[in-house]
Amino acid sequence: MEPIIKVEDLTHIYPTGQVVAVKDISLEINPGEIVGVIGQNGSGKTTLVKHFIGLLKPTSGKVIVNGKDTAPLRVQQIAANVGYVYQNPNHQLFARTVREELAFGPRNLDLPEDEVNARVEQAVEFFHLEELLELHPYRISFPLRKLVGMASIYTMRPAVFILDEPTTGQDNITTQTVYRLIKKLRDEGSTVLCVAHDMILLAEVVDRMLVLRDGDLIMDATPREVFSNYEIMSSTHLTPPQITTLSLRLREKYDAFDNVALSIDEMVSEVQKFSNK
């Protein structure tokens, strides 16, 4: 399978301050993969994913998205393939109504009007925005704005979906919608990159994690491997989900315990396995 994103020896140095934001990163992401990108602020994770939509261009190395080198392309050209949902929805909402907001992206892609409308309808149904359609995006609550922000990218149907901190500061209801969205995108075969600090979310939805520290890609593995790696976790000051830590502690204490659990369900089946022995 051709990777949808291919990064070759990517280094990015910001012109001001000469800070090396990412160093010599190489990786491939296959279509349909759900990938978490983790690390502290300043570790380079945002810098890395911004290259995938051309907001940043490599200082050296190459970024190939959907078979095309991003270097000569404008963001607007890449946007048909790659959607970027900003952490703060206020950074992208401007239209007079939620409906206009959702239609903005697909219209920019020059889709026929009935296709635009069909996509808006689908997004409305999925995100439950029926009652908000004619409202001003700034008249609705912040969590709902966050959903509108995601929906306004969803209508563009990009092959790659980048979510920047989708659950940070959100309550459980919004968080559940993010879970549903990622699962739906997975079913539709989209590739998802989730830049997040929310380990509970990542543990449950991603297949693979990229761990960054000071601009280096220090680990590229499954969440189970990442969370079990004490050295990586402590050197990046990241904490696994509580249930994962519980399973790690129990495993340390009782050798009867086999696998590291990523979710409550996994932990329950681990216990069931044990009591059936």
Partner: protein, 296 residues
């Protein structure tokens, strides 16, 4: 987004001018402002300008000053164009040359040149003050001579907010490009400006609650954390500044021979060349600026 950032702020340094208290610098900058408005005499204005530039070099803030001047120069060129065909002078005007429907006037060229010099004399001295003094020190000094506390706060906050809004604008522009926003022009203005303004309003609302919660805006006695030291030399400089300004202004009012509007005669070729140069210079600037802002 480098093109949009106008760097009018303190340039840290340890020059002799940095070490002067902000008040004497303020007094001199204000004095130059008064003198510049009092006269149109090109020699006086250009002398003030040149002295200002020398002091800028002494303060080692030349690079930052140059950036501001490069934006200011093309904008002030419009003055030459506008003044040359419609001088801010009592009629009758003396025509030099006519091109089609436009007539360039002697008074216009004189007035345009002096206005350009006036702007440069004033801003050079103002920049000298701003670029060599910590903004807090300027505001604290102003407060000492009677500026209201709240006004001080508003100025401080505005200074803080400007770079933040510029930064927000860049973020928003990126967010909209990520939604395949059609390039540039007026279509891009709404999607990129609305979020910035809404964000700014939300920020100010939040900030006001936060400030109220910190007892800000209480009536009653207030104190200041910033301390600005005033030496004998600072006071001497202020006195000299006032004397200089008063003396110059008096001279300008009394000595009518300083008005060169009749005696300084311009050749038609010079007039046309100047106006054409100013027009082109300004247009080139507008095109470059728009490209920077919208395409980035």
């Amino acid at each position: 987004m480098q093109g949009v950032v106008i760097p009018i702020s303190m340039v840290p340094g340890d020059s002799i001018i940095h070490r002067i208290n902000p008040l004497p610098k303020l007094a001199w900058a204000f004095g130059v402002l008064v003198i510049s408005f009092a006269t149109r005499n090109p020699l006086i204005l250009s002398t003030l300008f040149v002295v200002g530039v020398i002091l800028i070099l002494v303060a080692q803030v030349g690079n930052a000053y140059l950036k501001v001047a490069m934006i200011l120069f093309p904008i002030s060129l419009t003055l030459i164009v506008l003044q040359s065909i419609a001088p801010a002078f009592p009629k009758p005007w003396t025509p030099i040359v006519s091109v089609g429907p436009f007539t360039i006037f002697q008074e216009g060229i004189y007035s345009g040149i002096s206005m350009l010099l006036r702007i440069f004399a004033m801003t050079t001295w103002a920049m000298l003050m701003i670029m060599t003094s910590h903004p807090s020190d300027i505001f604290t000094s102003l407060q000492k001579i009677g500026m209201p506390y709240v006004l001080n706060f508003i100025l401080t906050m505005t200074l803080q907010l400007l770079p933040i809004l510029q930064n927000e604008f860049a973020v928003v522009l990126n967010a909209q490009k990520s939604r395949a926003m059609k390039g540039s022009g007026f279509g891009a203005i709404l999607p990129s400006m609305v979020p910035v303004f809404v964000g700014a309003i939300e920020r100010v609302q939040q900030l006001s609650i936060s400030l109220e919660s910190r007892a800000f805006g209480s009536s009653g006695h207030k104190t200041s954390y910033r301390r600005v030291r005033m030496t004998f030399w600072d006071i001497l400089l202020i006195v000299l500044g006032i004397v200089f300004t008063a003396g110059m202004t008096y001279w300008i009012i009394v000595d009518k021979s300083l008005d060169w509007s009749e005696t300084m005669v311009f050749h038609p070729a010079f007039a046309i060349g100047l106006v054409v140069f100013a027009t082109l210079g300004f247009l080139a600037f507008v095109v470059i600026a728009l490209r920077n802002v919208l395409q980035a």
